[in-house]
Amino acid sequence: MKISQNWLKSYVQLDVSVDELCRAVTFLGFEVEQVLRTGAPQLSNVVVGEVLTRDRHPNADKLSVCTVDIGFAGGVKTIVCGAQNYKVGDRVPVALPGAVLPGNFEIKQSKIRGQLSDGMMCSAEELGVAEESDGLLILESRPTLGTPINEVLPSGDVVLDVEITPNRPDCLCHLGLARELSAWFKKDLTYPEIRFAARGSGSGARPDLLKAVRVVADDDCPLYTATVITGVKIGPSPTWMQERLRSVGLRPINNVVDIGNYVMLEYGQPLHAFDAKKIGGAEIVVRRATDGEKIVTLDGKERILNSRMLVIADAVKPTVIAGIMGGENSGVDETTTDLVLEAAYFKRQSIRWTSRRLGLSSDSSYRYERGVDPHSLEEALSRAVDLLVEFAGGTVAGAVQKVGHDVPWQREIALSPAYVNQKLGFEIPASEMRAALDALELTVTREEQPSSDPNSIVWTVSIPSWRDDLDRPIDLVEEVLRVYGTERIPVAPVLTPGLLADDDPIVAFNRQVTDYLVGQRFNECVNYTLRSAKELQTWVSQTAAAELALANPFVDDQSHLRATLIPGLLESLKLNRSRGVPASRLFETGRVFVERNGQNYECLAVGFITTEDPDERSWQKRAPEDFYSVKRHLEILASVAGIDLSRQPISAVSETNLGWQAGQAAGAGDMQHGWMARFGLLSLAMVKALGIEGRVFAGILAILPEKLTGESGYRRFQPFSLYPAALRDLALVVDDTIPAIEVQKALAKIARAAVGKTFALEGLNVFDVYRGQGLPAGKKSLAFSLVFRSSERTLTDEEVNAAFQKIQDDLAKATPYQIRK
């Protein structure tokens, strides 16, 4: 909202600099978004002068030497001037030595190219009345010589564009802010003088103009008043009013419309003036529109209404969308002589709903939406009547017609100064507190002190009707602090009692996986959560994609929650490549949303991609990444979540869909157990379709947050043997299709049985996989290394050999595997 300093000055003495004003508004809690200056600033030693002679400067082609008459007191001055747009006889502003022009430009007597100059003739820009100008400001009205320039120029004003927070609708007007500023600067607030008593009746009611007011929809319009004013003469409003309206961005229209706007900007109460002769049937009905009812609003647009919208209608047609905008058919024009002035209280919810629905808002609807004070309505109405009588020549006809009731307002808050200080954590003297409250018209009506302890003082604070936002003691703490000044909050140390709590396991998980992947030289990425439907269908089933859709996406390609992190990473890879930046190893942590049985689950996820070879060209090639590189990464990431992937069933992806390449990627876990992992080669076709060249490996782990228990406690130490190990190698020829883990498990079982309890099979791992020459087709050889050890002694060759032989015998009996000799 724009507020004018000159306007504010009508109510409170505000002879302060712009900076002081801005600071006050800011620390009262209203953000100053813009400071605009209009008109001329106060200038001393700048007067009206007339150019008597103009001669070319002897030493400079573009300069002139002029004699300038500045009136009887000032005499004639010699002034060097560079402008070209004036002639002898023109009257212009003359800045004399001692004048300080905007921008802190001080005028002194000086020599310009050897010629003495006694001052400066000024342009509009130099005087600060225009953003830019070309040449001197020629004063066409030929004011008297020597007149101080401020008497000639439009008076200067400072206009602040201020953000009013939604809790303070009372400050959507000049009086409201003047009240705040009066408290800040500790100056009295002067209200406009009201002469018209709205409660008293005027003379000679005019039922021919307004027979009746009916409010049908009284739940949305608890109070409606209408006043008939006759004999109005439409014309321009007074210059000062026009100037004020213009300064805050309103275009003056005529005296009646301007007065309505002026009072709204003064009191915050929207008003509406009807041309009485346009009110069909001399009747005003406040009702809901019918579905499909139409009205052409003042902006020339036809609006189609519905039965939830409130209108002001006459006997035949809607004339105003209540509280929002008048219709073309009922407004005041040059021919208007009799008015009906409406001042009403509409419920904010109703106005807001209609305004949103129609996409139509106005200064009026803005105020109603935020809440106007029904108890100030009468005063605003009276003020408008006063102005109409004074500046539009009207006469009040009959009593104010009022439908609905004044809701009685009374609110008191019991406030103890000790409570204020306790909440603030520092002491404000009670007297200062009380002065602050008083200045905001939060009047302390009673003081009680039940005991001798001054901390027991309790005030009864009376809350004015326009401060509906205040209803608890804590609300008054803020009021006291605002006026006291938040800049005066004392400096203090942070006091920290220790609490027995630890970071969320989710946080610890994210930190650990990030540490690991950064250590593995991955670059962390951050991608948007919202993705396109098309992308999602590449990665999850149709049903899952549908479940992840937003009801109200903002743009089409951000319509669904992400189910995986991989596509975002591929996008980042592509972006880097398209910009000629080598990128190979990317990762992200973040939330993904996984569907299971018609339910979505929000999961933590960590995902990464790595290209087979690095993008970066290098003089020496390194080993390429492959399935097993990403498997190890995933094992480690899973271990951070407490999952031992080596103990989990892992199966190869069998069909190339949902992003992964069949036979080259694998998965483990499922949402039933609260986690799932996928890793391996990304679908070659999918990657190619994205415009990415080469093979890309990836891995992702998604886990329900509640799966992370964050178990602390310490692991028990496991003693280990200090005796030497005995090693034996064993190669088994098996069907090529059998997963290695199956063979390993069978071998481990037999080997454990074979060594029994005498010593232990400490380790068993595959060290060679072979296919080809020497083996039948469809077979492979898996070579295992077996590690035996005892915790009590050094094993002898004999006992190890015996066990090893038994293992081989048992294998031959119990499995189809052949021992490769």
């Binding site: 904010r348 946080v507 948007y528 479940e547």
Partner: protein
């Protein structure tokens, strides 16, 4: 005999320094000094030598032995070094760059988040997380947001269809809608509902606004909020925390100031400005950095804390905004493009 010994020695002198491999050496050693070696054979002939010659000859044999041993040692050490030499790869050019990948990097948002968490952890805060999909209760109702508040509008907040179900985000009431949280304050509610005070938490996380993406707006961005609940928490304590945070982040000469403001869940409420010498690309003295206030008693009542006993403060800020200020980044979209030339600058 003497001649034989001399011949043996000169043969060894010739042969042993020429040996290149360990097997050759072992074979030669056996030939000279092994049980069937030549020297051994000569020593065995000692018995056939006249008694008086024996001492002289014995001495000569010992000398030969010593010399042979030293020849053998020399040969062995030569072979040792030859073997080590073989382990050496090709010569290096120390000025060539390593072909290994560049270091990994943390995203600047992670860096800023972790730095803030570290600062807050030092004064007793612990880090908590909550779901990004929320319900109206946690995101709005519990935070004292009126039913007709504009923030709840479908124009500003992403909602899910009534049919949507989130298995691990439970609704408070059956009618309420699922939405994407518009602030991390919902985590404060969840924490207060699940724990008893005193509470001192910081909740960083991703939030969503239905907004056009441009240089300063993004459909999702990140916030970080602090909540402290205890007895007798004051406005002064809140100011002390903010002073501490930004002095830790930007140096001891950093100042903060409060401007009164309005938020539904705090009373009184403030916007926080900071002023610091070290900020790049800033030509204003005061920069708005976040919002804060004393937790509104209504919020406490809603989560079942007795507002007569408990008091508290909350502070929240945008992480992108903070990162932009700290690093002098002028466009929020850089955070979501992941250009490595961007990512590598901060890690």
């Amino acid at each position: 005999m003497q001649d034989l010994l001399s011949a043996l020695l000169s043969k060894a002198q010739q042969e042993l320094p020429q040996l290149n491999t360990r097997p050759e050496f072992e074979a030669a050693k056996a030939r000279y000094v092994g049980p069937n070696g030549e020297l051994t054979a000569l020593m065995k002939q000692m018995g056939s030598v006249p008694k008086e010659q024996r001492p002289v000859l014995g001495k000569a044999i010992n000398e030969i032995k010593v010399q042979l041993q030293s020849l053998l040692d020399g040969s062995l050490s030569r072979i040792d070094s030859l073997e080590l030499e073989k382990q050496l790869g090709p010569a290096i050019d120390p000025t060539l760059p390593s072909p290994d990948p560049f270091p990994g990097t943390r995203h600047p948002l992670t860096l800023v988040r972790e730095e803030m968490c570290r600062i807050l952890t030092r004064v007793g805060f612990t880090v908590v997380e909550g779901p990004e999909v929320e319900t109206e209760y946690y995101c709005f109702d519990a935070l004292n947001t009126p039913a007709d508040h504009p923030a709840r509008d479908a124009q500003d907040t992403f909602y899910f269809r009534d049919s949507a179900h989130f298995g691990n985000v439970l609704k408070k009431t059956a009618e309420e809608k699922y939405l994407l949280r518009t602030h991390t304050s919902s985590v404060q509610i969840r924490t207060m509902l699940s724990r008893q005070p005193p509470i001192r938490i910081v909740s960083p996380g991703r939030v969503y606004r239905r907004d056009t993406t441009d240089a300063t707006h993004s459909a999702n961005f990140h916030q970080l909020e602090c909540l402290y609940v205890d007895k007798n928490v004051t406005v002064r304590d809140l100011k002390a925390l903010l002073d501490y945070i930004f002095a830790s982040l930007l140096g001891k000469d950093t100042k903060t100031r409060f401007r009164p403001h309005y938020f539904g869940y705090t009373e009184p409420s403030f916007e926080v400005d900071l002023s610091a010498k070290h900020l790049a690309k800033v030509n204003k003295e005061w920069i708005e950095i976040g919002g804060c206030g004393m937790v509104d008693p209504t919020v406490f009542d809603g989560v079942g804390y007795d507002s007569k006993i408990w008091s508290g403060y909350a502070f929240g800020m945008g992480l992108e905004r903070l990162a932009m200020l700290l690093y002098g980044i002028d466009d929020i979209r850089y955070f979501y493009q992941n250009d490595l030339r961007f990512l590598r600058q901060f890690a």
